[in-house]
């Protein structure tokens, strides 16, 4: 590779060239700051400023009258509203049920799948490829696909059940089955995320330890119990914490499949905030709820960093 030398070494030093060169030198010496500047500006405009706005909105009534934003300071009024809002505890409970269920089931399934894949010599690439698909397709497409699957009359599931003489339920329209139906869709979507992390953890494990165990006469289940799982613990802890945090983001599939219904059977926090924001157009109250959700997530993140450090250290 060849590089042209700086112009100053070649051209006669006219005063203009010197000035340009000084500027060039200055930029070169401070290049570190020029290259980080776009990120900092973006974070100031699209994170710091919106955060301040969010806090401001959560203690105000905000309305848009003839294209002008009208602010009215109301203090902690939204806190009182939230305490009396019957949907808030339901949405919190549903979110908690959803998060706990999907995290536990997905971890368990992904652990089994990745253990089985890591023992295989054939088809590993094929399994990994197939498992990647659910993570990349649009969640709205996932919701649509499962709507077609769950459809009472023409859906795959009920048509398959009809073949063996069972008339299927209404799935997402049944108050008792709506949440399990949503959870099943989430398993389809997110188990592969846990699988990819756990498989990476398994593959980075030194094989000699398993071999040593085998030489010492340990059975396969003993190797799993006393060698593999303890070594996998840090990976599992990270995967579980991360999945928990991400599970709070759930929105698209529920929006499409049930819209939070029937009744409030699948109403989760994200969906309710969107409803308050968009359908009821209560910007201040929606922001207050959003701030509450952000605080819950922050606590989880802090907790996660603590646990993560302990698991690794």
């Amino acid at each position: 590779m060849r590089f042209t030398t700086k112009p100053s070494n070649l051209s006669p030093a006219s005063s203009q060239a010197v000035r340009v060169n000084r500027l060039g030198d200055f930029i070169d010496r401070t290049f570190q700051y020029w290259t980080i500047a776009p990120l900092i500006i973006t974070l100031l405009l699209l994170v710091a400023y919106p955060s301040i706005q969010l806090i401001r909105m959560s203690v105000s009534e905000v309305d848009i009258v003839k294209g002008e934003t009208v602010w009215e300071f109301v203090g902690l009024k939204h806190l009182e509203t939230a305490m009396q809002d019957p949907v808030v505890p339901v949405a919190l409970k549903n979110t908690l049920v959803f998060v706990i269920a999907v995290v536990i089931i997905e971890t368990f399934l992904a652990l089994i799948i990745s253990l089985l894949v890591s023992r295989s010599k054939h088809l590993v690439g094929f399994y990994r490829t197939v498992m990647l698909i659910p993570m990349l397709v649009p969640p709205i497409a996932i919701g649509t696909m499962w709507r077609l699957m769950y459809d009472y009359n023409y859906g795959f599931i009920n048509q398959a059940l009809a073949l063996i003489g069972i008339s299927g339920p209404t799935w997402t329209a049944d108050p008792n089955l709506a949440m399990p139906s949503i959870i099943l869709v989430d398993l389809w979507h997110w188990t592969s995320f846990m699988f990819l992390i756990i498989l990476a953890g398994l593959e980075s494990m030194p094989q000699e330890i398993n071999e040593a165990g085998r030489v010492d006469g340990a059975s396969e289940s003993q190797i799993l119990r006393y060698i593999t799982l303890p070594l996998l613990r840090p990976t599992l802890v990270t995967a579980v914490m991360l999945r928990t945090i991400f599970a709070f983001k759930v929105f698209d599939e529920i929006f499409l499949l049930t819209g939070g219904g029937p009744g409030t059977a699948t109403e989760v926090v994200s969906l309710y905030i969107y409803d308050v924001f968009s359908k009821q157009f209560r910007l201040g109250y929606a922001s207050f709820l959003a701030l509450g959700l952000a605080l819950i997530i922050s606590l989880f993140v802090i907790f996660y960093r603590r646990i993560g450090r302990r698991a690794q250290g």
């Binding site: 060849r2 290259t35 706005q53 905000v62 295989s120 023409y154 592969s192 990476a200 968009s278």
Partner: protein, 277 residues
């Protein structure tokens, strides 16, 4: 000699059932998208394939899907370019220069944190910003949201790639009299091309598949993207299964292409935060 074991049969049998569970909804949707309505109702395994659903979807007189596809492409490409510029410069700066841990930690911590926040927390402020900048219901408003969505992953992927380049290469260029700018554009960026491809592909896909920002920052086909179009299909015309399926399958094509051609680059990006504390 190794004794015969039936364990592999069970193992691959179980894994194949996982594969089937993953593929059945996609294949059922694909099949539905090629069916006449009468075949959708009959539920028989055999059917006469037809392109009528796709034709209706892309007929401008019957649906605005063409316009939404155009918007989706503009939003995804715009987001990808902006995110790549910001993230590659920042990753370069953070990995090739000495920063006080306080500053680099603050920046990387903020990025990781916004990656973990539910996007719904940004809605209110972003709505007001879009209103006051007069970009509500345009692709610009959606791009604004998608930058925040994609900046963390892109920065992290590129940091990894920059970190793998030995310092000596850059120093050699400097000795030859190159400026930092020249060494960045002629030595470092060409070397991290795979990283740029991975970060760019993921930014494109995650912008393409986002629903919430487009849903809340647009109200007409002027700025709407494909996912919002599909969702309105599903809600308004719950009987038009064929078009629903065609729209959903069409929206999945970029993801399927990426899985087919670039998967080894993207696993790292998808598991961001797990492989880094």
């Amino acid at each position: 000699m190794k004794k015969f074991s039936i364990e592999p049969i069970f193992r691959h049998g179980y894994l194949m059932s996982v594969v089937a569970f993953t593929l059945v909804p996609i294949l059922f949707t694909l099949a539905t998208s090629f069916k006449y309505f009468r075949d959708i109702i009959s539920g028989s395994l055999t059917f006469t394939p037809t392109l009528v659903n796709y034709q209706r979807l892309f007929d401008p007189s019957q649906s605005n899907f063409v316009r939404l596809t155009f918007n989706s492409l503009v939003v995804a490409a715009g987001t990808m370019v902006i995110v790549l510029v910001i993230a590659s410069l920042a990753a370069y700066s953070l990995s090739r220069f000495r920063w006080r841990p306080l500053w680099s930690g603050l920046l990387l911590g903020t990025i990781l944190f916004i990656h973990m926040l539910p996007p719904v927390t940004f809605l209110g402020p972003f709505y007001l910003i879009a209103r006051s900048l007069n970009i509500y219901d345009t692709v610009l408003a959606v791009i604004m949201g998608h930058i925040i969505l994609n900046l963390p992953t892109a920065t992290w992927i590129l940091l990894d790639f920059f970190a793998e380049i030995p310092k000596e290469l850059e120093e050699a260029a400097m000795v030859d009299g190159a400026t930092h700018f020249q060494s960045l554009t002629r030595v470092l960026l060409p070397m991290i091309q795979p990283g740029i491809a991975a970060a760019g592909a993921l930014a494109f896909i995650f912008s393409w598949r986002d629903f919430l920002f487009s849903l809340s920052l647009t109200s007409t086909p002027r700025g709407m993207t494909i996912p919002v179009g599909i969702s309105s299909f599903v809600q308004e015309y719950s009987i038009r299964y064929g078009e629903m399926a065609a729209g959903a399958f069409f929206a999945m094509i970029p993801a399927l292409l990426l899985v087919a051609f670039a998967q080894r680059f993207i696993i790292k990006g998808l598991t961001l935060g797990a492989l880094k504390g």
